[in-house]
Amino acid sequence: MSERYYCPLLKKIIEEGLCVDINYENEKIMKEDELKAIKKMLKKTNAEIKETCQNCKHYPL
C-alpha cells in the first residue's frame, strides 16, 4: 500500500504520489501541473510552497 499522510500544505491526508508530484514540479523535474492549481488556490509562491514542504517530516521525498 502506498503511504498516506497529512500534508501541511494542503491540510489534508494525501497519497505520497501527490506529494511526489508537488515536489517534482516545484523542483523543475516535471512541468507544473498540479502545482499551478495549488498555487492559485493557496495563493502561495513556489518558494513558500517549498518552505512548507521542507519543514514537513515527510520531506525529503
Binding site: L10, K11, I29, K31
Partner: protein, 649 residues
C-alpha cells in the same frame, strides 16, 4: 403502567424538560454550526463504540434509589437515599417523591399537562402532516407556542384517528402515538424520549418555515454548485463512481455513514426537510472532516499548536466546572461524567483517539446538558448547539463562569477545526474537480471520433488483461528464481558476490556523486545499504537488467541518484498512480516498457523508491513494486531531459 426507567434516562428527562421548555420558545434558534464543528472531531464509529460499550457496561450498575418527579415536565430523577442534600435540592426545585405505581398510564388529552415535550412532538408531527395549524396571536401575529393540548389539537387528533380507522376520541394513547410513527419505548411503555427521532422532531423549529426556507434556498443557492460540491466531496471520500452515477454513490455514502448504526439519514428524510441537497452536502463535509480527524494526531502535532492550546484551555475549564464543589448537588451527573471519563481513558487507545481528541471529548461531555451515555451520540449528530441548550439551566448553577469561558473557547476550537478541515477540504475539492475536468478534457481531446474511442477502450482492456497476465507471469518467474536459488547454492553464491561487487561500485559512484553534486541529499548517502540487491539470472538478463549509463552514481537532487536497475517488479498501482496515468495519458504498455527497459533508474529515499525513466515516461515505483505516480513525456521538464541526455552520452 410504567414499568421502570433507567437512571440515565430519567436524569436526562429532568434536564431535557427544563431545557426544551425554553428551547420551544425560541423559534429561530440557530445552534447548528457549533454542533456541526463538534461532530467533526471524532468519527461516528468512535462515538458509537463508546456509547454502545458504555451503555452495555452501565446496565450492570443499577441499584435501588429514591424516585422523584417534577409534575409539570414529567422529569424524573432517581437519587441515592443517603444523599439527603440532593433530595432536598430537587424538592426545592419542585420535585416530589413518587413511586412507579403512583404514575398513571400515559395518555395525552385536553387539559393533561403530563409531559409538555410529548405534546410538542405530537403537535409538530400533526402540523407537518397537515392535520393541525397552530393559531396566530392576533396581537403579535406570532403563532401560539407548541406544548398545550387544547381543542384544536384534539380536533386534529380526531381527524388523524378518523383517517387511520382508529377509535375517534381525540385522546392520544399508545395506539395513536404509534400510528403517527413516533418512537415508542416498550420497556417504559411511554414515548421513547431519548430516541434521536423524538429529539429531531422536538428540536425542529422550522415546522412552518420549511416551505419558505426551501423556496428561499432554491433562489439563493446555486443548486448546481451544491451538487458539484457534493460530487467532489464524494469523490475525495473514495466514491469514485460519483461522476458516472451520482445517485448510486450518494446512496452508498449515506448508507455507509448513517444507516449503519442509527439510521439518522432515514429519519431525516422522514422529517421531510425540504433542503435535501444542502443536507447531503453538510453530511459529506462532516465525513471529510472525520476523515481528517482520523489522522488528527498528525494534524495536531505538525502545526496546530494553537488548536491544541485551545483544547487544553477548554479542558481546564471543564475541570474547573466539574470540580466546583457546588456543582456536586447533581450527583447522578457527577457519577455519569466520572464513569464516561474513565471509560474514554480506558478505551482511548483501542479507539485510536489522540490525546487532544480525548480531552475534547471529555470536556464536551462535561458541558453537555443531557449527560448520559446514550445521548452522547445525539449531541454529536443532531445539529444543536449544546451551549444554547445548556446555558439557561447551568447559568443558574455555580460554575457558571467556567461554563461561560468554555463556551468562548469551544467556539474558537470549532472555528479552528473548520479552518483546518472544512475550508481546506473545500479548497482541495477544487483540485479534484479540476483533475476530473482535466481528465475529461484530455479524453475528449484524444478521442476525435467515437470509433477511435471504442478502439482505445478495447485496447485499454487488452492492456489491462496483459497487465494481469504479466503479473501472474512475474509471480511465476519469482517462484522459478526462488526454486533455482534453493537448489543451486553455487549460483546463489555467485549472485551474492555479484551483488557485493555491484554495491561496492555503487558506493564509489555515490561518493563521487556526493563530491560532484552540491545538492546531494543526506539520505542518498545511504543508498548502497538500502538499494535492493540486483538479481541476475538468465531470465532477467533478457529484460529489466541494468544497462551501463554514463551518469551512473550522479545525483539529481530530489529526482534521486542514478543507480543500476534494481529490477523491481510491478505489483500494483496506487489510486493516485492510476488517476495520473489516465489524466496524463500514460498507457499501461508504456509503463511496463519503462519499468522493463528503462534508460535510467534513479534511487530515492535511500532506495525506498525508484524513478524509472524512459524516453516515453517516468514511473515512480516503491521497492515493494507499487507504482505511486507516473508521468508522460509531455510532463518532462529540464531535469528529466538532462538526466536522459547525460545517460546516453
Amino acid at each position: 403502567m410504567k414499568s421502570g426507567i433507567a437512571i440515565n434516562q430519567d436524569q436526562k428527562l429532568e434536564e431535557e424538560a427544563d431545557i426544551m421548555g425554553s428551547k420551544a420558545e425560541k423559534e429561530s434558534r440557530n445552534g447548528e454550526t457549533q454542533m456541526e464543528e463538534k461532530s467533526k472531531v471524532l468519527s461516528n464509529s468512535a462515538i458509537n463504540n463508546i456509547i454502545q460499550m458504555a451503555a452495555a457496561d452501565k446496565k450492570v450498575q443499577g441499584k435501588r434509589k429514591i424516585r422523584l418527579w417534577e409534575p409539570n415536565s414529567g422529569a424524573v430523577a432517581e437519587v441515592d437515599p443517603d444523599n439527603t442534600q440532593t433530595i432536598e435540592e430537587l424538592k426545592r426545585n419542585g420535585y416530589e417523591e413518587t413511586t412507579k405505581s403512583e404514575k398513571k398510564d400515559w395518555v395525552l388529552k385536553v387539559g393533561n399537562s403530563y409531559i409538555k415535550n410529548d405534546v410538542i412532538v405530537l403537535q409538530k408531527v400533526l402540523v407537518k402532516s397537515g392535520y393541525l395549524d397552530m393559531p396566530k396571536d392576533p396581537a403579535t401575529q406570532k403563532r401560539v407556542p407548541f406544548g398545550t393540548f387544547g381543542e384544536l389539537t384534539k380536533q386534529a387528533v380526531m381527524k388523524f384517528q378518523r383517517k387511520k380507522g382508529l377509535k375517534v376520541d381525540g385522546i392520544v394513547g399508545p395506539g395513536t402515538w404509534k400510528a403517527l410513527e413516533l418512537p415508542w419505548n416498550n420497556e417504559t411503555n411511554e414515548p421513547y424520549r431519548t430516541h434521536h427521532q423524538y429529539k429531531l422532531i422536538l428540536n425542529n423549529n422550522n415546522i412552518y418555515n420549511d416551505e419558505n426556507k426551501a423556496a428561499a434556498d432554491k433562489t439563493s443557492l446555486d443548486e448546481k454548485t451544491v451538487i458539484a460540491n457534493i460530487k467532489s466531496n464524494l469523490y475525495i471520500l473514495g466514491y469514485k463512481n460519483v461522476y458516472n452515477d451520482y445517485k448510486a454513490a450518494r446512496d452508498q455514502f449515506l448508507k455507509e455513514h448513517f444507516d449503519n448504526g442509527h439510521s439518522l439519514h432515514a429519519d431525516f428524510i422522514r422529517m421531510g426537510n425540504g433542503d435535501h441537497y444542502s443536507t447531503v452536502l453538510e453530511w459529506t463535509n462532516k465525513a471529510l472532516a472525520h476523515q481528517i480527524s482520523r489522522h488528527g494526531k498528525d494534524a495536531e502535532g505538525v502545526e496546530d499548536k494553537e488548536l491544541n492550546n485551545y483544547i487544553d484551555q477548554y479542558y481546564k475549564f471543564a475541570l474547573e466546572y466539574f470540580n466546583d464543589s457546588q456543582v456536586s448537588w447533581f450527583t447522578p451527573y457527577r457519577s455519569d461524567v466520572k464513569y464516561v471519563w474513565q471509560f474514554i481513558d480506558n478505551n482511548a487507545k483501542a479507539l485510536g483517539l489522540s490525546e487532544y481528541q480525548v480531552k475534547l471529548l471529555k470536556a464536551d461531555y462535561v458541558f453537555y446538558s443531557e449527560c448520559t451515555v446514550e445521548n452522547l451520540s445525539l449531541m454529536w449528530n443532531e445539529m444543536n448547539n449544546p451551549f444554547d441548550a445548556l446555558m439557561p439551566v447551568r447559568a443558574r448553577r455555580p460554575g457558571y463562569k467556567a461554563l461561560n469561558n468554555a463556551k468562548g473557547i469551544r467556539s474558537k476550537i470549532a472555528g479552528k477545526i473548520k479552518n483546518n478541515s472544512i475550508v481546506k477540504s473545500k479548497d482541495t475539492t477544487k483540485i479534484s474537480v479540476k483533475d476530473t475536468a482535466k481528465a475529461t478534457a484530455n479524453l475528449a481531446a484524444n478521442a476525435k471520433n467515437v470509433a477511435k474511442d471504442v478502439s482505445k477502450i478495447t485496447s485499454s482492456a487488452m492492456n489491462m488483461a496483459k497487465s494481469v497476465s504479466n503479473v501472474v507471469l512475474i509471480e511465476k518467474d519469482a517462484s522459478k528464481v526462488a526454486v533455482k536459488e534453493a537448489i543451486n547454492t553455487k549460483t546463489a553464491s555467485k549472485e551474492m558476490s555479484k551483488a557485493e561487487v555491484n554495491e561496492k561500485g555503487r558506493s564509489k559512484n555515490v561518493l563521487k556523486a556526493a563530491v560532484n553534486a552540491e545538492d546531494a541529499e543526506v539520505n542518498e548517502k545511504n543508498t548502497p545499504k538500502n538499494v535492493p540487491k540486483v538479481k541476475v539470472n538468465a531470465e532477467d538478463e533478457t529484460e529489466g537488467t541494468s544497462k551501463t549509463v554514463a551518469n551512473l552514481g550522479k545525483s539529481y537532487g530530489k529526482f534521486g541518484t542514478v543507480v543500476e536497475n534494481p529490477g523491481v517488479k510491478i505489483t500494483g498501482f496506487s489510486e493516485h498512480a492510476v488517476n495520473q496515468a489516465i489524466t496524463r495519458g500514460v498507457t499501461t504498455d508504456v509503463i511496463q516498457n519503462t519499468v522493463k527497459n528503462p534508460v535510467v533508474v534513479l534511487s530515492q529515499r535511500g532506495g525506498n523508491s525508484f524513478a524509472y525513466v524512459s524516453n516515453e515516461a517516468v514511473v515512480v515505483i516503491k521497492n515493494t513494486g507499487e507504482i505511486i505516480t507516473t508521468y508522460g513525456k509531455s510532463n518532462f521538464d529540464a531535469i528529466v531531459q538532462q538526466v536522459l541526455k547525460e545517460a546516453i552520452k
